[in-house]
């Protein structure tokens, strides 16, 4: 019995390891290419990190740098040259600005509304809630075209507003917070009212602190979705490099002048992709919770 169980366990690991290798394949390729020299990439040699021989890089010299500056190890060169050629920090900064603005506005709009729907009694509450339920069905990417037409008419294409505005309302956030607030005991709110707190103070000083766990999960859900989003920025940002979000940056690295040199290109892509992956690995549990949030019933 014991032996049989071990064999069973062994088989399972064998299958899962093959699966894990297939899943990791592009990650391996990405990191490996960002470390190796062009020759090693083209001849598919050198394993994960290549030989790392110090050499002079011709493309770098052609760009106008001195030969001395251009002599270094491949991994140094790839990452250095990536930063020389594209304003990567700017793209990352834009990513932070856009995702944070979206999240903050979403909370500012959703939290009071969720509180009203959960804890205040007023005429038309059921109607508002059914409106929320209906809007849950509408995928924002699906209505991207009419939204684009509206933004274009308002002259907002190629602005931060275009990146942020369509996402300011998260009906999912309203729904989620409302469900959460339903579980908060009424006594807590009544006690706050007795203490003379107004409704505004209750929302931000009583309800917000109780909602931190749900809010954190929602934050991860929202930030990951918008950090990775490519479709919407691609629609509304046409050429202004200053407004590029990380995915638009990635697209530019691939299609740009440097497409004859894969190392620096992959180095840029790794740089832009890594922050989120590192955050994920550090706080896995929270991330998985947040992203599968849509699975909560």
């Amino acid at each position: 019995m014991e032996a049989k169980q071990y064999i069973g366990e062994g088989w399972k690991h064998a299958i899962l390891i093959i699966g894990a290798i297939v899943v990791m394949l592009p990650f391996y390729m990405m990191v490996s290419m960002s470390l190796k020299s062009q020759q090693e990439i083209q001849s598919i040699s050198g394993g994960l990190i290549g030989a790392q021989e110090t050499q002079t890089f011709p493309v770098c010299v052609k760009t106008g740098y001195s030969e001395e500056t251009c002599t270094m190890k491949p991994y140094q060169y790839n990452y250095w040259f990536a930063f020389e050629k594209a304003p990567i920090p700017r793209y990352l900064m834009n990513g932070v600005i856009v995702t944070l603005s979206i999240f903050i506005i979403q909370v500012l709009v959703a939290l009071p509304c969720a509180y009203a729907l959960a804890k205040l009694r007023f005429y038309g509450r059921e109607f508002v809630f059914s409106m929320v339920l209906f809007c849950l069905l509408i995928p924002v990417h699906g209505i991207a075209l009419p939204l684009y037409v509206m933004l274009a008419q308002a002259g907002l294409v190629d602005t931060y507003s275009a990146l942020i505005l369509p996402w300011t309302i998260s009906v999912f956030g309203i729904f989620l917070m409302r469900q959460f607030f339903m579980t908060v005991p009424d006594e807590l709110i009544d006690a706050a009212r007795m203490d003379g707190m107004g409704e505004y103070a209750i929302v931000w000083k009583v309800m917000l602190p109780t909602a931190i766990p749900a809010l954190l999960a929602f934050a991860i859900f929202s930030v990951v979705a918008h950090w990775n989003d490519y479709f919407w920025p691609r629609m509304v940002i046409t050429g202004n490099r200053d407004l590029f979000t990380p995915p638009l940056g990635i697209r530019e690295f691939r299609g740009g002048i440097d497409s004859d040199e894969f190392g620096p290109m992959m180095a840029s892509i790794v740089t832009v992709t890594v922050p989120l992956i590192v955050a994920f690995i550090i706080a896995q549990k929270r991330f998985i919770e947040g992203i599968t949030l849509t699975g909560m019933k």
Binding site: V128, G142, P146, M150, F231, F287, G295
Partner: protein, 318 residues
Amino acid sequence: MHNSKAHIWFIAPAIILMIIILIFPLFLAGGISFTDYNLGNKTFEWVGLENYDKMFNRKTYVKMIWATATYVIVVVPISVVLGLCAAMLLNSLRFGADIYKTIFFLPVMATLLAMAIAWEFTLHPTLGIVNSFLANGCGGVREFILGFHWLPWVDSQESWYAVACANNMDFPYWLKQKNTAIWTVCFIGIWQAFGFNMVLYLAGLTSIPRELYQAAEMDGAKSTWEQFKLVTWPMLGPTTLFVVTITTIRTFQVFDTIEILTKGGPSKTTYVMMYAIFEKAIQQNLTSIGAAITVVFIGFILVLTFFQRYVIEKRVHY
């Protein structure tokens, strides 16, 4: 009970934004789809159903429907089944489950666009490790396994692998060939989606009470398969329904991989709806056609979700 008017200030911003950002665009898309309006035009004419007529009769749009349908029909079932299998395997492991979970969830987290480019190089005919792995395996175990020589009806001289080896390592140009591009894109879709489904199934599995398995065993369901049929699968009903719906909706919206890897080609075999909307309406400025595609797209999504709600109410209550 409170008697302030605070609620108006609480709900007004949300209502206004919902109307402007979510509800009005539905009508706008519907309206534009009956006109010949293009962005930048001063005037427009009502053209009735002309745009829809084009959509269902022109070859391009028929191919669009085909590509979208193929993508959804391939990616949804496979990623759901893979997610379920992975969840069940992980659930029965004694150790190491967390590591696999992290690895399988990575594609869900990582920026899809970056990963699409990474896949492009991985599958590249001359630079990629996939084709070099295949080429190095000619005549060996890899050829035997991946060429399906172990199946009794496959001739070991005629399999796709053997033929490619014989023809000077002529392995597929995965993303550039008409007969492989859509399947390669589907593969990337499955690669990206199954970890998400796995996590939802893992949550579903932990909510099944242990006693049910003991009861099933007493009723004579001894083998793992019988227990799966009797307990696990029925208990996962609501999870499955949810997983299928959400995967379908996400799958319908595929865009990143198509735009960066195939641009809808070769010969429109990967011309999915979201890409069609982008190409027609934004790049070619044919707003009205794009609006018609949008309306059909939204229609699909609404039908799907209503279907899900209907099934939930009718069937999945035990």
